[in-house]
Symmetry: C2
Subunit: 189 residues, 2 copies
């Protein structure tokens, strides 16, 4: 059973460096040194620096897209959907905090895949917005400005990657539950 091949390891280490200094400030020589090899050797495994960023961001973006798709397919009410979105973010950020950092702060350095990423992100936000609006329409959610609610929720959820690695004494279920109370009880009736 092949567990983690060299390429996957490189991408994982790169994501960790990207989180600390950002994509542009991490050189291929930095990455190579952390891997214990020379920069040129990286190219036996990866195509380019850019392809590493693509791997990191696209895989996570697609994970969110698929998660949102599952949530929409379920016939639960709006608050249930929001709770599942919260869990989705907690799960992904817990599993891949480094990758989430790249997605949040380095997406603008995507080249070929930039438009693809932006399309996924816009779709995600639009679905999120519709869930909130539906909740307002059927009195599950207070009649506040939809954009402010969306922004407030997404800001918190998108920042989880910064915070989860520092608080290891809280497990995923506890965190999701606590966030649900704080975020949802604030906007429901």
């Amino acid at each position: 059973m092949k567990t983690e091949n060299r390429k996957t390891e490189i991408v994982r280490v790169a994501a960790h460096l990207f989180k600390e200094k950002g994509y542009s400030a991490v050189t291929m020589r930095d990455l190579a040194k952390t891997m214990g090899i020379k920069a040129a050797s990286l190219y036996n495994h990866i195509e380019s620096k850019q392809s590493i960023l693509q791997d990191i961001i696209v895989s996570i973006a697609e994970e969110f897209t698929q998660g949102m798709s599952s949530i929409l397919a379920e016939s639960s009410n709006s608050i249930d959907k929001l709770n599942k979105i919260i869990s989705l973010h907690v799960t992904i950020a817990s599993k891949n905090a480094d990758g989430m950092a790249a997605l949040n702060t380095d997406w603008m350095h995507l080249e070929d895949k930039l438009n693809y990423y932006l399309d996924l992100r816009n779709s995600y936000e639009e679905n999120f917005r519709k869930i909130i609006q539906a909740g307002i329409d059927n009195n599950e959610i207070k009649n506040e400005n939809v954009e402010v609610i969306l922004f407030s929720l997404l800001s918190t959820l998108r920042s989880l990657y910064l915070w989860i690695p520092k608080k290891e004494n809280l497990n995923e279920a506890q965190l999701a539950s606590s966030l649900s109370h704080i975020l949802i009880k604030g906007i429901n009736t």
Copy 2:
């Protein structure tokens, strides 16, 4: 009356470029081209690229520190203090969204001033934490995990710079009010 000297203009333009691509990805030649001059000419006005980042981040960090200090000096209750913190963030993010971007995403590229910045940030967070804890202690705020409340509020407030420039149809007072309802009504009793 001297309005804006050349150095201030350079720092302002730099902050705008930093917001779009990040500190590391913006070159002095990029900055010079945007200013309509040659890169070497920048050095008649500024000391170094690093000094531009310092100017941007330190001035904002000190603005927050001073704002927090004023809020603490007032003898209002915890919810009042939180509302004033929200207004502080809305005001600063509205006035200087580009600078907020640098503070949020490029602080790790500070060299000499890194520790000073981190000290200010830690103090700010600690004061914020104490306000929340005091609110819990005297029953103004629900007895939820303080760290999760702090993280949730700060995440939203720190992300304002991303969002304010896109929604120009909402004025500062309306935004602060709307945020207060959404963020505070969720955590008070």
